[in-house]
């Protein structure tokens, strides 16, 4: 098997990324990890099971072969027993009828020959001492028979010698028969135990195999389920607007790596879309603000116009001091116009998203200034209660300004006659700043409350709202690692933005320490 097929592949060959775009550094890093695909894991699992089965089958074949040899040996020992018993029968015939001594010798000799040929097998079954004993007994028996035969042939067999030989022959004959029967019985026992083993092993193996398969199923499905559950969790995180990358849970590359790379790519797309959404919505906010700015500009312009005409009409009657004072008025009013335009342009300017340390209090004041004219047009009151010396926040100035502006403009839309908007900023917990934008407007219906941060959700009449303002707020705040929540009842709606801040906050602010809010 070509393992390299599973273990290492140049990035991109087996995992083409949708869209055919160039791989980023991070994607390349992921795809360059050593691969350990699920396909390979499954194949590896089944290979292990297969090899185990092969081992068991080879073992069984070896065992059958062994049993076969055992049976042959057993037959040899039966033959040996038969020869020994035959010799004894001939021996008995001789003592009873004086015949068959020759045959007894032959049988005994045959038994001896068998024993000689199977000495090793004998030692294996009875040990060296057993072997010595059997061989010794048989040799003694055979020697006695030979002595008897020699005396019979010479005709010098006395009855006393015959009795003595008979006693010895009986003694050793019985021992030899006993030995032979014992060997045969032992061999038989051995064969039976092997057969027993042959019966048990497949049963045990089946049980083992079953457990192994159960474990493998669990193991493989766990390997699938863990990353799947992980991805489900990740998508839930992404749904809250957190577009940071999905980190792979395994060190090597598998099929899920491709999914993770694809999700990360999707995340970057989402992020860039979110950013263009924020930008396009900023233009909308600028549109709303422009009307207010136009009104605000008319005041200094009018002052310049009136002062210039006053100089034109009365320059002869005016003292030098009066003329200078009027020209100074014109300069001051021009400065005022410039500040108004600058404030809007500063917000409108298209900039790359720059994250940096920010003074949230100043940022909020600038935002309130931007919305000031809208507040005036709406004849509303905007109070700000911004705690002094707030710790720094890490973020994008433009985007955070936009988020707070959206919330203020949203509040302005909600209020009616005698509307009051209150902007509060204070530490909420160590490392957390809280900004609240409250209004005494119509409130948000309970059924709409859960949807207010959804894109394109709007309760305003067609053409009045895009339904994107609050979703943009949510997007921006989430991107800054913060959270935005809303509570609403008729006459009191609070949007609460929490943002992580750099320096630890000493203690929550007590109301006495609050800066006196200014009225716009």
């Amino acid at each position: 098997m070509n393992l390299s097929h599973f273990f290492h592949q140049p990035a991109g060959d087996r995992h083409p990324v949708p869209g055919g775009l160039a791989l980023t550094e991070q994607e390349r890093e992921l795809l360059d990890r050593p691969a350990f695909s699920f396909r390979f894991q499954i194949i590896l699992g089944f290979l292990i099971v297969f090899l185990l089965s092969v081992a068991i089958i080879i073992g069984a074949m070896v065992a059958v072969n062994h049993i076969q040899r055992r049976i042959t040996t057993f037959q040899t020992w039966q033959r040996f027993l038969f020869d020994v018993e035959q010799a004894r029968r001939w021996e008995k015939n001789f003592f009873l009828y004086g015949t068959n001594l020759q045959e007894a010798l032959e049988s005994s000799h045959e038994a001896q020959r068998l024993l000689e040929a199977n000495l090793e097998a004998l030692e294996a079954i009875s040990g060296p001492q057993g072997r010595e004993a059997i061989a010794g007994h048989l040799a003694k028996y055979h020697a006695l028979l030979q002595d008897l035969y020699r005396l019979v042939q010479a005709g010098t067999l006395s009855s006393r010698v015959q009795d003595e030989l008979e006693t010895n022959l009986r003694h050793y004959g019985a021992l030899v028969v006993e030995d032979a029967a014992d060997v045969a019985a032992r061999e038989n026992q051995l064969v039976l135990s092997w057969l027993d083993l042959m019966q048990k092993v497949p049963t045990y193996y089946l049980v083992f195999h079953f457990v192994l398969m159960l474990w493998m199923t669990r193991f493989l499905s766990n390997r699938f389920m863990k990353p799947l559950n992980y991805l489900v969790k990740q998508t839930k995180r992404i749904a809250t607007g957190d577009f940071s990358d999905v980190k792979p849970i395994r060190k090597y590359r598998d099929e899920f790596t491709t999914v993770e790379v694809a999700i990360n790519r999707m995340l970057r797309e989402l992020e860039s879309r979110q950013n263009s959404l924020i930008d396009s919505h900023k233009l909308r906010a600028v549109g709303i603000l422009t009307a207010g700015v136009a009104h605000e500009l008319n005041n200094p312009l009018n002052n310049i116009m009136l002062t210039a005409h006053a100089i034109l009409e009365e320059y002869q009657a005016l003292s030098a001091e009066e003329t200078v004072a009027m020209v100074k008025d014109i300069v001051a009013e021009t400065d005022r116009s410039r500040a108004i335009v600058h404030n809007l342009l500063d917000f409108t300017r298209e900039t790359e998203s720059v994250m940096g340390p920010l003074q949230l209090g100043r940022l909020l004041e600038e935002t309130i200034r931007l919305a000031r004219n809208q507040v005036k047009v709406k004849r509303a009151i905007l109070e700000s209660l911004i705690a002094p010396d707030l710790p720094q926040v890490h973020g994008d100035r433009q985007q955070l300004k936009q988020a707070f502006l959206n919330l203020i403009l949203n509040a302005l839309d909600a209020i009616g006659e005698e509307g009051i908007i209150r902007v509060t900023a204070a530490p909420a917990a160590p490392g957390v700043l809280q900004v609240q934008i409250e209004d005494n407007g119509c409130g948000i219906p309970a059924d709409a409350l859960t949807h207010v941060f959804d894109p394109f959700y709007t309760t305003k009449p067609v053409g009045k709202g895009t339904g994107l303002g609050l979703s943009v707020v949510h997007g921006i705040v989430t991107k800054h690692g913060g959270d935005v929540t809303v509570k609403s009842a008729p006459g009191h709606t609070v949007f609460t933005v929490t943002l992580p801040c750099r320096a630890p906050v000493a203690a929550p602010l007590d109301p006495a320490g609050r800066q006196e809010g200014h009225r716009t």
Partner: protein, 132 residues
């Protein structure tokens, strides 16, 4: 002949400062205000012939001043100054009896022209307004 009583209200101080002398030359008695609440209090005390008021102001708006002035003296000529003229505002002002409207930025002569017309309607002989 009795002088024409004019109340001039704008939260921008320069407006009052620059317009007052021109109106005085036309034979008007001019009181300038920057705070609409103070101006309305004065309207309640004194009968004015002409009220010139800005619309967008923090404490109260020009429409409220218009209503207050008309309530006390239906004959009063109210000229509305606006920096942010919307059709809606114009309609509301006219419905409530405003004499005319003038949008910022305007020339002093334009406003004086309006005042002259208003004075004529009030039956006052007017010295021709000085053009620049």
């Amino acid at each position: 002949m009795k002088a024409v009583e004019v109340l001039l209200l704008d939260d921008e101080p320069i407006v009052g400062q620059r317009l007052k002398s021109g109106l005085v030359k036309m034979g008007c008695t001019v009181e300038t205000f920057e705070n609409p609440v103070a101006a309305m209090a004065r309207i309640a005390q004194k009968k004015f012939d002409i009220v010139i008021t800005d619309v967008m102001m923090a404490e109260a708006n020009g429409i409220q001043v218009l209503e207050a002035a008309k309530k006390l003296n239906p004959e009063v000529k109210v000229i509305i100054i606006t920096g942010y003229a919307t059709a809606e505002l114009a309609r509301e002002a006219m419905e409530k009896g405003a004499y005319d409207m003038i949008a910022k930025p305007f020339k002093p002569a334009d406003l004086r022209g309006l005042v002259v017309r208003a004075m004529q309607e009030l039956g006052v002989q007017v010295v021709a307004p000085t053009e620049e």
